[in-house]
């Protein structure tokens, strides 16, 4: 093809794409004269070039479009129909360009229709300043035959008419010129290079890197050789060359997104919906090859969102959503990958429909489908033919969509996943390796096998030894490393990859590779660490791509193939909720306790000695002073008639004696119809204190001690006495084995110790967990609970995160969840419900808690019935 023509086509296509998106922007900001000037200038340039290359159809079209755009400058109101018309014209121009490319010449055809419309619109509401030339047309006739080279009068007339006259106002052109001159300067600083040339360059550099690696490997084996110095120099130069070449291939992802604003605009109009497109991270750079391959998948997904995801305005209004639906595109770098998300706030995926379609298509049996979680069902959309759209629309729904998207993404070594919440929306997450090229990697070994860890993910390396400065410590069974002020969760690589002897999975010696994913740090324990090597990343074979632990594989300098670890995949092993898991605790202690625990109302009393004791006021039902004469003794126990029942009196400690005469102060604890009383000598005070309790394990009946009003005060363990009172008196009416299993999650030992006995006395088999993480671990390991009660404010995995995790797992999705907290704002309550809790009880409301539990238990029972 003609060199000139080819350049023209490339440039014009690019310009047209820019005009497309600029027009859409302009439509949203009609007062932005800068955008308008930009558009005008681009179209003007195209027109000029068309004329220069003798492409009359194109020239005429662009001229008519330019005229209309010029009218906008004169003050013509920017209407949707006007913009649509121009966009249609641009499409026609693109069609002609395509035909031009194939045939080397403009196709035959007329654009009279469009030109007429453009002209008509331009004439409408023409600015008052425009002048019409008027005058009489005199019919003239030449009275002789034409000589060669002469044109008829009509032709001349026509030529005269069609030639654009001077535009009424020229400010645009004036400003256009300086801009163009400035442009020219910029343009000369960049040049066009054939993509093939760059490819070739890239391949050569890769080969160079591999050869250099081999040389380095050989040189390493020799202690002293003249090769070392030049080899180092070579290595350095190669690294720089590699970096430079890679830069040439990187382009911002915004380039792939360029056409999307216009697409969304057109789709909105076509479908009669209101859709807004948000783009974040357009400057994120990625390899050009990769960029080309994701353009189509992204377009398809945006179409799908618009067509199937976003609902019609009426539907959205009815659902309480804003009428305008949003499709959000975002891109960011993360650990050697680029992560792209396509999210919409539409109606989400219909799991039931997918399930039904999977069944009818014979993709899975009924029993197999029953075992699947929603997330697994949603992944069926990536199978060929799985469109669940009721009507095959023009845009999508032909059922050939998502499977092609997935295979496109597969081909570049990427992965795609989907998360959808019914009524709320859908998010597609695409992860693509940053380059099909070279990265720096640390070679490590676990159980005799070598792996590569991308250097970019390695924060630090720490040597651990059983007796050394840094060692693996354990909290219960969870391995952690104390690193400066932080506790780092650890994962043993050999255990994670199931290598080697199961008995030796978690040794004491080795190296910890400290890595960071998102905001969290964690450590990977390996046996040995070798050197850092530049490796050529090769994408995983399709049959291995599902293994999240690896992001690719490579050939080392010695010819061995090794897997490249993916820190994201490893971090995901810490639980389905990516949480810190272990609190980041400073040596000073737990200072960041939340507000609700900072002050508590305490009832201070004396019983048996002068040393003050205290009990949380909210646990106490009533303070009583009774006449000792109403106390009776039955079967060795002190009791009294209290509100129609017999209430046992318990002495908290051996030294406590019931008074001989007079009035006896009592702390009454009631639970429904049962009450018990603690005998005390004297009620001292009620104080509101911030207290830090030191939990002691030792004396029965004492939870621990704290400083209350400047004095060391024993905190009484009420829970200790309740079963004494009731077990002895009323007996446990519920036999042990049919007790409902309750899981109590709270990070404060104090509150666990207070609540657990209360709940046990109420007839539940209580298991406690000290963190959301531990609770989740218990459930994951197979323990089943009928009810879960959880604190909200906990470090690591808090109550909300725990609820969400439990809800997303089929096994626990239906388990009643009750939240405990002191913050009872409406927003909080909403958040709590959103996360999946069934009920919400204030922390010290013991009776409320028991009532809530009972209500949930009954609900479950009646559902099962």
């Amino acid at each position: 093809m003609d060199e000139l023509l080819r350049d023209f086509l490339t440039e014009t296509h690019e310009s047209l794409d820019t005009v497309d998106s600029e027009l859409v922007r302009f439509e949203q900001e009609p007062n932005n004269s800068e955008i308008l000037a930009n558009i005008f200038r681009l179209v003007h340039t195209i027109k000029g070039t068309c004329g220069f290359l003798s492409l009359p159809r194109l020239a005429a079209l662009t001229h008519a479009a330019e005229s209309l755009i010029g009218r906008f400058r004169d003050g013509l109101p920017v209407s949707q129909s006007a913009v649509s018309l121009i966009l249609t014209t641009l499409d026609r121009i693109k069609d002609i360009l395509d035909a031009l490319e194939q045939r080397q010449g403009e196709p035959a055809g007329s654009d009279e229709d469009l030109i007429a419309q453009l002209d008509a619109m331009a004439q409408e509401l023409a600015a008052p300043g425009a002048t019409h030339s008027s005058g009489k047309l005199v019919y003239q006739v030449l009275e002789r035959p034409l000589k060669p080279g002469e044109a008829t009068l009509d032709e001349l007339e026509r030529a005269f008419r069609e030639t654009p006259g001077p535009a009424p106002a020229q400010p645009g052109l004036e400003s256009g010129k300086p801009a163009e001159r400035a442009d020219a300067k910029v343009v000369s600083q960049s040049i066009r290079v054939n993509v093939e040339t760059l490819e070739h360059l890239m391949t050569m550099v890769s080969e160079l890197v591999l050869t250099r690696n081999q040389l380095m490997e050989l040189a390493r084996r020799q202690t002293e050789t003249a090769f070392k110095l030049p080899l180092q120099r070579l290595s350095h130069v190669t690294a720089e060359l590699q970096e430079g070449v890679m830069k040439t291939r990187m382009q911002p992802i915004g380039n792939a997104w360029q056409k999307l604003p216009r697409l969304v605009r057109d789709l909105s109009a076509e479908l009669g919906k209101q859709i807004e497109l948000e783009m974040q991270g357009a400057e994120t750079e990625l390899d050009r090859q990769v960029l080309d391959m994701i353009k189509d998948p992204l377009t398809h997904m945006v179409r799908n969102s618009a067509d199937h995801g976003i609902e019609f305005p009426a539907e959205r209004r009815a659902a309480g959503k804003p009428e305008r639906g949003t499709i959000r595109l975002s891109a960011r770098h993360e650990g050697g990958h680029i992560v792209i998300e396509v999210a919409d706030d539409g109606r989400g995926l219909n799991s039931r429909k997918i399930r039904a379609k999977a069944l009818t298509s014979g993709l899975a049996s009924e029993s197999e489908l029953d075992k699947m979680t929603d997330a697994q069902l949603q992944r069926f959309i990536f199978v060929r033919g799985m469109s669940t759209a009721d009507a095959v629309t023009n845009i999508s729904g032909r059922g050939v969509g998502m499977d092609v998207v997935q295979s496109n993404i597969d081909q570049i070594g990427g992965t795609i996943d989907v998360k959808s919440v019914p009524e709320q929306g859908t998010v597609f997450t695409i992860k693509i390796p940053l380059t099909l090229a070279i990265v720096s990697a640390l070679i490590v070994e676990a159980a005799g096998e070598r792996f590569a860890m991308p250097q970019v993910a390695v924060m630090e390396l720490v040597r651990v030894r059983g007796d050394g400065e840094h060692r693996v410590e354990r909290i219960k069974d969870t391995p952690v490393l104390r690193l400066r002020n932080k506790l780092l969760p650890l994962i043993f690589l050999r255990k994670f990859l199931r290598l080697g002897d199961p008995a030796e999975q978690e040794g004491e010696n080795g190296f910890v590779v400290v890595s960071q994913v998102g905001a969290e740090c964690f450590g990977i324990v390996v046996d040995r660490v070798f050197h850092t090597e530049e490796i050529v990343v090769k994408p995983l074979a399709s049959k291995l791509r599902h293994i999240h632990a690896f992001s690719g594989n490579t050939i080392l300098g010695d010819g061995a193939v090794i897997m490249i670890l993916d820190p994201n995949g490893i971090a995901a092993a810490f639980g389905s909720v990516r949480a810190g898991g272990i609190a980041h605790e400073t040596a000073a202690g737990e200072e960041n306790r939340t507000a609700d625990r900072n002050t508590t109302a305490l009832l201070v009393f004396r019983a048996g000695s002068n040393a003050p004791r205290a009990v949380p006021l909210s646990l106490v039902t009533r303070l009583e002073e009774i006449d000792v004469r109403s106390i009776e003794v039955t079967g060795g126990r002190h009791v009294m008639q209290y509100r129609g029942h017999l209430m046992p009196l318990i002495c908290p400690g051996d030294c406590v004696r019931i008074k001989e005469s007079g009035s006896q102060p009592l702390l009454v604890f009631s639970d429904g119809e049962r009450s018990m009383a603690l005998v005390v000598d004297q009620i001292v005070d009620i104080v509101e204190e911030a207290f830090d309790i030191e939990v002691s394990d030792g004396r029965a009946g004492i939870l621990g001690s704290a400083i209350v009003k400047g004095e060391a005060t024993d905190i009484v363990d009420v829970g200790h006495y309740l079963p004494i009172a009731f077990a002895d008196w009323l007996g446990s009416s519920t036999p042990q084995r049919v007790r409902p299993r309750l899981l109590l999650v709270d990070d404060s030992a104090f509150f666990r110790n207070v609540l657990a006995p209360v709940l046990r006395a109420a007839g539940y088999a209580v298991t406690t967990a000290s963190s959301g993480h531990e609770a989740f671990g218990l459930i994951r390991s197979g323990r089943v609970f009928d009810l879960i009660v959880s604190d909200l404010q906990m470090p690591g995995m808090d109550g909300l995160a725990l609820a969400r995790a439990l809800r997303s797992d089929r096994k626990t999705a239906q388990t009643p969840l009750i939240a405990l907290s002191s913050m009872t704002t409406p927003e909080m309550i909403q958040r709590v419900r959103d996360a999946g809790f069934h009920d919400f009880v204030a922390k010290f409301d013991r009776q409320g808690l028991i009532a809530a539990i009972k209500e949930q238990a009954d609900a479950v029972a009646s559902r099962a019935a």
Binding site: K538, I547, T554
Partner: protein
């Protein structure tokens, strides 16, 4: 003479011409045949890198002249007991733009087999084998099981780790 409208399995074999060429390989004690059009090359399997967490059928990955090729343990795939420690051979095949090596015990000759000796797959054949076999040929000494390359490479989703 088997009738043209013969056994359904034979009909599904897309290579059904009067005679076809097969590369013969031995796995365990059984002789198998692979359509020659699908076989790229044959090579010695040295130094397989195991892939942790991969499905059992995948022996690992290997470096074949600078390319990373997925090695599939044909013994496991066919449900035979694994026999590690032996230097293995592999048959290189390509599918969907990717290269694979089928790890086998030994390679035999290339045979040209007529449709006359073809039989459908016996119904009492082991499940795993039946899924990937496309026919059986009667040879002078023994039987040859023809393998369907695409089915061999089609590891079902349920076999992939979550």
């Amino acid at each position: 003479m088997p009738s043209p409208a013969g056994p359904p399995d034979a009909m599904q074999n897309t290579q059904q011409t009067a005679s076809a060429e097969y590369v013969t390989v031995t796995v365990g004690t059984q002789l198998f045949g692979l359509p020659i059009a699908r076989v790229q090359d044959v090579f010695v399997l040295s130094q397989i890198t195991r892939v942790p967490l991969a499905p059992d059928d995948i022996a690992g990955v290997i470096n074949l002249r600078g390319r990373i090729v997925t090695a599939i343990d044909l013994r496991r795939r066919l449900g035979l007991a694994s026999d590690s420690g032996r230097t293995q051979m592999a048959v290189g095949i390509e599918s969907d733009g990717e290269s694979y090596g089928l790890a086998i015990d030994a390679v035999g000759e290339v045979l040209t087999l007529d449709v006359e000796t073809a039989e459908p797959v016996p119904v009492n054949l082991d499940d795993r084998l039946r899924r990937v076999a496309s026919g059986v040929h009667r040879l002078e000494h023994g039987l040859l099981v023809v393998l369907d390359v695409d089915k061999l490479l089609d590891l079902k989703p349920s076999e992939l780790a979550a």
